[in-house]
Symmetry: C2
Amino acid sequence: MRITGIIAEYNPLHNGHIYQLQQARQQSQADLVIVCMSGNYVQRGQAALLDKWTRAELALQNGADMVVELPFVSAVQPADRFATGAVQLLAALGCQTIAFGSEQPTFDYQQAGQQIIDLPEQSAAFVDYQKTYATQLNEFYQEQLSLQIDQPNHLLGISYAVANARLAQPLNLLAIKREQAQHGDQTVSTAPYASASAIRQVVTQGTALAALQHVVPAGTLAALADSTLLTEDQLWPLLKYRIESLSLAQLRQVYQMSEGLEYRFKKVIHKANSYTELLQALKTKRYTYARLQRVCLYVLLNIQPADIQQGLQRTYIRLLGFNEIGQQHLHQLKKTTDLPIISKVSAKMGAETGLLGLEVRVDRLCEQFGWQSQNFARQPIFYHGKDEAHC
Amino acid sequence: MRITGIIAEYNPLHNGHIYQLQQARQQSQADLVIVCMSGNYVQRGQAALLDKWTRAELALQNGADMVVELPFVSAVQPADRFATGAVQLLAALGCQTIAFGSEQPTFDYQQAGQQIIDLPEQSAAFVDYQKTYATQLNEFYQEQLSLQIDQPNHLLGISYAVANARLAQPLNLLAIKREQAQHGDQTVSTAPYASASAIRQVVTQGTALAALQHVVPAGTLAALADSTLLTEDQLWPLLKYRIESLSLAQLRQVYQMSEGLEYRFKKVIHKANSYTELLQALKTKRYTYARLQRVCLYVLLNIQPADIQQGLQRTYIRLLGFNEIGQQHLHQLKKTTDLPIISKVSAKMGAETGLLGLEVRVDRLCEQFGWQSQNFARQPIFYHGKDEAHC
C-alpha cells in the first residue's frame, strides 16, 4: 500500500488544500493519504477557527483517508519543532512519502535536509539580541549552503526535510507547487484560491461569509457559519487577568519565557487594552510576533517546560477520523506499531498525568467558550462518503 | 484626645452605620473617630460594591474623622484573623476604645475575651470533618464558658474581645446596640435601617436603587448609581478559566486549599456554570459557604500562603482619608508610631516585593473591570465638610 502523509492545520480548509490533497494522491500514486493535523491551537499561537473534529471531517470530505491529531506540544512550536513532531508521527503511521506545498517545487529538499543536519551544531551561537532566532538561522544557512529561505512554505519544506533527514529511515519528500495564493496573502481575490490567513481575516472581521464562497468548499462555509469563534478579543480579558495576577516568579515558569521576557510582560500589561496592543508593546528585534504570540498562548494555557518535556515523551496516535481505506490501514497498523492508538479518551488517559492530560487541559478553554466536548465522549469520525467526495 | 476606633466594611455604608458612628462618638465622648475599613475585597470573599476610596469618602461624610485600610491579608479572613488584624491596627493608631455593633450590648465582652485567651490551646482538636471549624469553636466556648454565640455581630464582638485581650495594653470595648435590622436580614423594609446584605441584594439584582432611598445616605445612593459593579457573574469566567487551567499541584498551593479541597475543585469545575453552582458543588459539612467563597477568591487572586505570611509581617498604616481633626492626630501619630504611614504609593512600594505589592496586585482585577487606579497616583481624601456632615 502506498501511503502519503500531509502535515496541515486546515485553519480553515480551503480550495488550495483540496488541490494539495489531490496532487499529493496523484503525484505519489498513493492508495492512502493520511493528514497529520494540529488540534485546537495552531502554530502561530492562536485557537483554530473551527474545532479539530470539524476540521478533520472537512479533510475527510475533501480527500483525506485518515486524520490524526498533532499533539499540542508539537503543534504550537516554531517551524523546526513543529516539523519534527509531525514528520515523526507520519513516519510512525507508515507513510512512505511526505507531500507539502512549496513555492519552489523543483528545489531538492532531500539534499538540503541532509546538508543541514551535516552542519556543525550552531544554535548556541545565535546570541545576537538584535535579531530573531529564525533570522540568524536563515543567515547561517545562507552562508553555509547558499540557501535563500524567505518564502514561508519553502521554510516549512526545509524544516520537514531536516526532520526527515534525521529519521532512521527517511521518507520521500514530494514538493507540490502551490496554486496561486501565497501563504500569508492578506486578501481574497476573485481567484478560486486564497490563503488561509486572508480567509481568517474575512471570518474574524465579520465580513459576510459569502465572500468566501469561491475559495472554500461548501462544508467549510457551513461550518464557519455555525461555529463559535475563539477570537483574541474574547481571550484577551483572561490573558490580561492572568498576567496581572501572576508573580514574576510564576510568569518565569511559563514555557519559552526566557531572557527576562517576564519583566517585559509585567511592565507593559497594565496599559495594554487588547491582545494586539500587548503584542506590539512586547515586540523587540529579538522576537518575532509569532514567537510572542505563542508565549502569550503558553501563559494563557499555563504551559510549563515540564508539560512540553513530558508531552514529547508521551508518543501516541490520536485518531480524529478515517474512511474505509483508512480503517483497513488502521487494522494493519495495530499489528505493527508500538505506539498506543487512541480512539476513545478514558478517564485515566485524560487525567492530569495521563497520556492525553495536556490535550484535555488546553481544550478546556475552548469548551468554556461553548465548543462541545473535545476529548471525553468523542470517537473518531467514520467517513462513509469517500467515493462521492472524490467523484 | 479621646480616640475611638470602628472596624467596618461599609459594603455599602447605610443608615445603621451612621447611627453606629454617632453612638460611638457620643457614648465614648470621642474627639476623634477612626475607621479601619476593608479595601476592595470583603470578609466573605467578595469584591466590595464600591471601591475603597468611594467608601472612605462616604465614611468621612457620615461621621468618621479618619479612614485607614485594613490590608487584604486580614480583611479576607475568618472572624478571628479579621479581628486580630483590625484590632492591632486600631491600637497602633492610638485608639483607647473600640466600638462595635452587637445584638447583646450589655454582654461583658472584656471578660469573655480574657476568659477565652485563658483557655488551653484548642484548635488542633477540631478535627470533626462533619462540622465546620466555626461550629466546633462555638461548641467549645459553650462547653467551657457557657457562651452562646449564634448571632453574627455577637460573634464578631467576641472576636474583637479576644484579639483585644491579647494586646499588651488592651483597649476599652464599647458594644453599641444595633438598630433594628439584624446583620444578614435579607429584605429592605420600610424602616430606616436595613442590613448591608439586604442592600447588596437590591443592588446586584438590578432592582431600582430608589428602593434604598430611606436606608442609605444620599451619597451612597449616588455612588451606587455611578459604580461599576464587580459581580460574581463577571468574575465567574475568570475563576472557571483559572481552575480549569491550573494543575492539581498548582491549585494545592493556593492559601487555605487544605485537606484535599483541590481535588474537589477539579472534580466539580467542569460542570459548574456559575459561581453559585460551583459553591454549591463544593459545599460539605466541613466548610461554610463563607470559607469556600474566600478560597475561591484566593484562587482568583492567586493568593499563596507566603503572600499572607509576608503580608502579616508588613505592618503599616494606609491612609484613605481624613478631615481636619484626623489630620491633627496624624501629625501627632507621625511622631510616636514606628509604623510607616502611607499616603502615596511609590513604584518601589507597589512593586511585587514592596510594602503594598499585594494590595496593588489584588486591586488590578478591579481596575481591569474599569475601576480607576486604586493605588498608584492616588492620595488620601482630605474631607473639608466635617461640620456640615455633622450638623
